[in-house]
Symmetry: C2
Subunit: 382 residues, 2 copies
Amino acid sequence: MNQEIEAGSVGIVQFSDYVFEDELPLDCGRSLKNVVIRYETYGTLAEDAGNAILVEHALTGDAHLAGKYSENDKKTGWWDEMVGPGKPIDTSRFFVVCSNIIGGCSGSTGPRSIDPDTGKRYNMKFPVITIADMVRAQERLMQHLGISQWHCVIGGSMGGMLALQWGVSYPEKVNAIAAIATTARVSPQGISFNWISREAIMNDPNWEKGEYEEQPSRGLATARMLAHVTYLSDESMNNKFGRGLQASDNFDFAFKKDFRIESYLEHQGTKFVERFDANSYLYITRAIDYFGLSDATDGNLAEALKPVHCPFLIVSFSSDWLFPSYQSQELVKALLKNANDVTYCNIQSSYGHDAFLLEMDSLGSLLSSYLSNLPENGADNE
Amino acid sequence: MNQEIEAGSVGIVQFSDYVFEDELPLDCGRSLKNVVIRYETYGTLAEDAGNAILVEHALTGDAHLAGKYSENDKKTGWWDEMVGPGKPIDTSRFFVVCSNIIGGCSGSTGPRSIDPDTGKRYNMKFPVITIADMVRAQERLMQHLGISQWHCVIGGSMGGMLALQWGVSYPEKVNAIAAIATTARVSPQGISFNWISREAIMNDPNWEKGEYEEQPSRGLATARMLAHVTYLSDESMNNKFGRGLQASDNFDFAFKKDFRIESYLEHQGTKFVERFDANSYLYITRAIDYFGLSDATDGNLAEALKPVHCPFLIVSFSSDWLFPSYQSQELVKALLKNANDVTYCNIQSSYGHDAFLLEMDSLGSLLSSYLSNLPENGADNE
């Protein structure tokens, strides 16, 4: 990275939609017609297409990784601090791609899309998809963009699962993988929280078996509040909220938002309903549950990762209890057993799982130096 | 404890109901008329009433601590392993009392009781109560039983909060306190889980603002499932369930109970609805949220505990993340600062919070030896 370039914004960006010509086969045995993938790109693709980096978003993320849609746009993309000229993922050097996953609700085909066979929304007739299905759709986009190998696939949380899945599904198409705050197998505790979240949505009378016109907002907000607690840590909640009260000096002796943490959660839940779709939430959390790279190898993760020869960057955060450090370490051990080139860092942070969106300084310098030292595409990584 | 007595059952037991003559004043400023406290006793009260032990139940517990109601009764009381002749809480030596808390739904006055002013169920017109209110009601029972000082108050989880509250509310009426797997201040994370649980109940259309005839069963089951996850540990869930599937070799690609952990949670939730009342769940979790002994002393726990001079037994479990060990240690530090006599043990266990109902061997020997070495009632504990 050229330290003299002042880190800047990618500026005004726009998204593109790529519509598949052929059906997309899925792990469940069904297939999807007329799949749309929404994506954004930043920087310039090199002539040999060897400088392309794919960034994967998390559960409720989207393709809008960096920049703004207009001068007046108040919000930048979700990882704007990380992506731009002179930034850790340096767009003056790399061609960066981010696409909304299938099953999502931010432009790509998902449960609220129109089923071409019926002319109506899929809703719960949408097929149950997997992380591997999401990656299979992205591989079509890769072909469309004329890229034969990603220089690196980078993702945090669920995005890290997609990054790992790229290695297993298309080992020859990935030069390196950076998996941040993630796991190779979602734990029964993680599965439980997703189950309870879906219960909250499906129990909402406004869900109407997925055929709602208006969002099942209380159920979706409850699901989000639960997820939000798993993104924080006991320590960060103690530091930020403690047992502080919202409005008064004493308890209100009612069932209102008495504590500041309750008001905060309620705000997070309500805001979320405005930007995310309930059926998408059901489908994506199910895809997460199904993510267990070693399911087919009797829990032997090294065996499952055998086809992958590329170097890995694995990053965990000390206070992340959704995908705890020991799960990253299992991954590191399996990769070392396979003699992969592995860089691992357990960043000390009190922010819990959310640290992957907050610890920008430590994560940024780690990513930046990792990318600077990667071999050229196509190198023999064995 | 006489080691030669073979540990036995308290046998066939029955409960009693004590009805208060006077109104019970509450922290919220209101008061309750005609309060009923359901309780059970085991063993014989000594002439000087110096051998009485009060055992406090947890959130969804009841007064049925030990024994059976009839020969054909398939279930014993909830801590039967711990209470009986020759058992750790030895009924051949101690007179043991357990009472259902007010706000509960197992015989004591709670939100589903009849409001004497209207002749109808209180439901959401029931006053919001606190842990101190529950203890205030128990103190009336204590008077009724002719006991002037508990030899020891013992409780786990929410029961531990009541035990601690006894010390603060009635320091002269407690000879010793054993607080197990509990906290002196419920954390914002704990408050959050309770908030989300109540949302699940109150969002259930069958809740009907508390005026249901039939339970809001889906909401209550969801609340229980969430609580249940907080009672287990990541490790115990990995050990017991892992990513095991329920019925088939492959995913069902639907939203059914696919994983064994999902089936287990669903079973726990459904079973719970048969035995516990939704409105009680709302009121008791709110009382738990409100429990912060140091709220009135700007977070200074030692200051809050100053009036309490008795010895304490504090027990935590290494994998308990609902009331983590560090919270017990805060309590220990505050008590040591006040020069209380403190015995502390952090029992190594993978069972999470539930360990207080499962690690009977280590907890039993700890309690048994603690009770054997306690000073007589009324001793100067300073």
